[in-house]
């Protein structure tokens, strides 16, 4: 409740400052902090994208700075554990978001259900394919929760549709160019690719560019995300659908969880942000630019 606004200082961590998803998260964090009357938020992202060693140093440094609470997402779910334990020892409360950390103590874990995102997106594609055809998977950064869980979801969807054949599954490291080139190469060895499941929208776009350039506009692509570009692509009919991975909401809710816990309110230990599958019919709410969005109601999520 804004009633007990206390100007708390927050520190928020990101995996990189490159991916627009994290820009949405950041917008959500800022919005919620402002709404609840917290103090300024300092944001930390490694100077080299997804650099674990740098993130470790940043955690250590932030521990010295002693913010009131930390919002944390891990570049690697396991490697950060000792550093998180140090934060625990220093008595600074943490909220985990985006990527789960496999150890340490957190007030709450706020994230999408990556497995179900993969499953939903996968099911949507396979249904559109009518339960048959050939598909490929584009994975993200190996070892990250987001990629691994989503890919598991894809595979579950595939199991449910034995008529669909998985031609290849290659990582493209959440990079557009890499996805583009992997796709270009896969097109060469596989004459008919009916569908693509990408663990993130950026990779879906890379794949779409490759498919369109090869004149294979019929191939259907699904991604996971929902950044502004995805919405445009869905409306333009280039992207079939994307499973909502709502960075803005995640930023909001993680911040709310941190502030509420600081204000001695109870906070559930897990907050799952259920995402819908965004397709042509459901783009509406996502067309609002980040600065005009509002945070969701806490009560809707803290059951």
């Amino acid at each position: 409740d804004p009633a007990s606004a206390a100007g708390e200082r927050l520190a928020a961590f990101y995996k990189n400052q490159v991916d627009p998803h994290f820009a949405l998260v950041r917008a959500g964090v800022e919005a919620a902090a402002k709404e609840m009357g917290a103090g300024p938020v300092t944001h930390y992202a490694p100077t080299r994208p997804n650099n674990l060693a740098e993130q470790l140093s940043e955690i250590e440094d932030v521990t010295v700075k002693k913010p009131d609470a930390i919002l944390f997402m891990a570049v690697d779910p396991r490697g950060v554990v000792p550093a998180i334990e140090k934060v625990n020892a220093a008595g600074i409360p943490l909220v985990n978001y985006n990527d789960r950390v496999r150890g340490g103590k957190f007030v709450s874990y706020v994230a999408a259900d990556d497995f179900n995102l993969g499953l939903d997106a996968g099911r949507y594609l396979l249904k559109a394919l009518g339960g048959k055809g050939n598909v490929v998977i584009l994975e993200g950064v190996k070892g990250s929760t987001t990629s691994d869980d989503r890919v598991r979801g894809f595979h579950k969807a595939l199991e449910e549709n034995p008529g669909v054949k998985l031609l290849a599954s290659q990582p493209a490291n959440y990079q557009r160019l890499q996805a583009l080139q992997v796709m270009e190469n896969l097109i060469q060895s596989n004459s008919s690719i009916d569908g693509v499941m990408a663990a993130a929208d950026v990779m879906a776009f890379g794949a779409i560019e490759a498919l369109e350039a090869a004149g294979k506009k019929a191939t259907m692509v699904v991604g996971i995300g929902g950044v502004p570009e995805s919405i445009e692509a869905i409306k333009a009919g280039r992207l079939l659908a994307t499973a909502e991975f709502n960075g803005y909401k995640m930023g909001c809710l993680a911040t709310m969880a941190a502030l509420r816990s600081l204000r001695k309110e109870t906070v559930p230990d897990t907050i799952v942000i259920k995402g819908i599958v965004i397709d042509k019919t459901t783009t509406g709410p996502f067309e609002v630019p980040a600065e005009k969005r509002t945070c969701p109601k806490w009560e809707d999520y803290a059951k």
Binding site: N16, Q17, V18, D19, P20, F22, A23, R26, T47, R48, P49, K142, A168, Q170, P171, Q175, R176, L177, Q178, L180, Q181, V182, E184, N185, L186, I187, Q188, S189, N190, V202, F205, G206, E209, E212, A213, V227, E229, E232
Partner: protein, 333 residues
């Protein structure tokens, strides 16, 4: 001209196109052999490999790396180094994307990329010539600065969706061949003629081989160094345009993954980091070898984790192959 033993007009000698490869014919032949070798292995392993479409595909993938590596080759030939090529690409692409997206003409976007690239190259050039900073470090510092500016400009966002006419530069075909491949061919031709068939090119080799001797031979060393860094910057700008047109979006991390491949392409191509030895043609072969290897691994559905390892081995094989050629070049007169 009292002391001229021979003047250009006094001597009539046929012009050999072969001089474009003068000096390192053996190295280049070995690289072509390497390509043929990898190619035949892939052709045996995968039916898809030898299709025209796939060959063009490999060339298109090589083109981006090559565009970036071509400028770097010039700098290295001149005895310098440029670690900032990829960061320069990122910043140029981001600024150009910003311009195009703000509704201005794509031409202006292209101009922005080229201007930004060249300007950053000029800064590198000034650091090396005017301040006489060691190139490796100066361009490393520039890498951070350009990258930081790109981060700052983009603020974590991406800019996407460009007009089709612009995108044709990256995705288009002419007479069945991808546009970037033409661009690669043009750059290869112009750069090769430049380094092999102009006085300035000869001077670049001379500076690379021994800067002090070149200076004392009356070569305007600083102007030439300035030139190669600016050309390298320009190539980053050109690569930025192709990149943008190809992926239809800009983000502040787009260039970074290209840095090591670009350097590797130059090195696999047989250009010596000590300057004065090498060729742009070698670099094109290097870029093709890299693209070929990755293409092959995708076609055979080999897990991507193997990629760095295979690329590392290829790089080492390429330079070891040079050991065979090296002795020859030193001695055959």
């Amino acid at each position: 001209m009292p002391n001229n033993p021979v003047s250009a007009t006094a001597v009539r000698s046929p012009q050999h196109w072969r001089h474009l490869f003068a000096g390192d014919g053996a190295e280049l032949a070995l690289r072509v052999a390497l390509i043929v070798l990898i190619g035949s292995a892939l052709a045996l392993a995968s039916d898809a490999f030898l299709s025209t479409a796939n060959v063009l595909n490999v060339l298109r993938q090589a083109s981006l790396i090559f565009l970036l590596a071509a400028g770097l080759t010039l700098v290295i030939l001149c005895g310098g180094f440029d670690l900032s090529v990829a960061a320069n690409l990122t910043l140029s692409a981001c600024l150009a994307a910003g311009v195009i997206k703000s509704g201005l003409s794509p031409w202006l976007g292209i101009a922005t990329a080229l201007a930004c690239g060249t300007a950053a190259g000029a800064l590198n050039g000034l650091a090396v010539t005017l301040l006489r900073l060691p190139p490796f470090l100066a361009t490393y510092a520039m890498l951070w600065i350009l990258q930081g500016l790109a981060f700052h400009y983009m603020g974590g966002q991406e800019i996407f969706g460009f007009p089709p006419a612009f995108r044709a530069l990256g995705t288009g075909f002419a007479f069945g061949v991808p546009v970037p491949v033409y661009l690669m061919a043009v750059v290869l031709f112009v750069a090769t003629v430049f380094v092999r068939s102009t006085n300035v090119g000869q001077e670049i080799y001379a500076i690379g081989a021994n800067p002090e001797a070149a200076r004392l031979s009356g070569i305007p060393m600083r102007r030439r160094q300035m030139l190669v860094y600016m050309l390298s910057g320009l190539m980053s700008g050109i690569a930025a345009v192709v990149f943008l047109a190809r992926v239809n979006a800009a983000d502040s991390g787009m260039g970074e993954p290209l840095l090591l491949p670009a350097i590797a392409a130059v090195l696999i191509g047989g250009t010596s980091l000590f300057g004065g030895v090498g060729s742009v043609l070698g670099t094109v072969l290097g870029a093709i070898i890299l693209a070929l290897v990755i293409n092959g691994m995708n076609l055979l559905d080999i897990r991507a984790q193997w990629q760095p390892l295979v690329v590392g081995v290829v790089l080492l094989v390429a330079v070891m192959v040079d050991l065979v050629a090296r002795g020859r070049r030193e001695r055959i007169g």
